[in-house]
Symmetry: C2
Subunit: 186 residues, 2 copies
């Protein structure tokens, strides 16, 4: 089957709820088999995340309360785009600096991450950042977090043991471990 | 800072939208610094996903249209819980069988994945399945997909090159590669 034979065609679309961070769309779509069904989609303007590595292969991570998780998570720095179409690299550089004080000389594009592609339009652009220097942080008013440095091998071990709930952090840590040839701790 | 010093306390909570697959809650929360802010959260009853490996280290994947991505993705089998509190292993066994026809003798718990923990309550329980035998598929009415087998080394290479948009598939594939000692293709 080609991708065109799997495509759903939107027949109508209504913005049924509008919020601060996301909106909700209710769509009527035509399936490839001729049926029409309803699809509800959370519309989000997109975000960025950064796995920042120190010279000795430590990762900058943040402990922070997350409402969807309803608890404290350990995550790599991340943030929303300021507007649809914002350059993701600029946004990633801003978020890393604001949340950790770090400025990186070397940026590697790791591509895109969709956390729940069936229902959530949020595209998170993922970067690796190296050759760090440190200045001041500059948190948003509602951001309360603690920044820590954890060895990549330790963090990769935690991911493999299922101890890191955040998906983008799981992905970025395992990618960094494979790219840097770092063995996860048992 | 202890986790208790990072905790946000929900002061009030309103269900502001109800849909088929998820609802939206608007919360008023007290931050650790004494400020009160609004948090909008997408409430989802949870899901499961399975990285199923054949004897020769091929992965069962599905090509399927996804509304949040607005295109066709390549993903490991996944599905929603039938009800809150459903045993995730039973759900994973059902989804794997319905979508690929596979029954697995060996199941390994890979832990939890939150695709966007700031705004989405969806917890996806992740499993690895091995020792497969195959019977008939049994798709839901609105599921149109194509199942393929792709070598784990090939798929892990695609993840590292940023070619797999789905986050849970990125995570599961890299974990399987590391656990099975399979080197991603360049």
């Amino acid at each position: 089957m080609k991708d065109t034979e799997l495509a759903e065609k939107t027949l109508s679309c209504e913005r049924v709820w509008e919020g601060r961070v996301f909106d909700v769309e209710c769509r009527r779509v035509l399936l490839p088999n001729g049926d029409t069904v309803r699809r509800d989609v959370v519309m989000h303007k997109g975000a960025v995340c950064v796995i920042a590595l120190t010279e000795n292969h430590c990762v900058l991570v943040e402990r922070q309360w997350r409402s969807g998780y309803d608890g404290v998570t350990l995550e790599i720095p991340a943030g929303k785009l300021d507007f649809v179409g914002e350059d993701p690299l600029s946004a990633a550089q801003r978020e890393l600096r604001e949340e950790t004080g770090a400025v990186a000389q070397r940026w590697i594009d790791l591509g895109e991450y969709y956390g729940s592609p069936a229902i959530l339009s949020e595209k998170i652009h993922m970067y690796m950042a190296e050759e760090l220097s440190f200045g001041d942080t500059d948190y948003d008013d509602d951001e309360i977090m603690q920044v820590e440095r954890i060895p990549l091998s330790d963090l990769a071990g935690r991911v493999l043991r299922g101890e890191i709930p955040d998906g983008k952090t799981q992905c970025a840590v395992l990618r960094a471990a494979l790219m840097c040839g770092v063995t996860p701790e048992k």
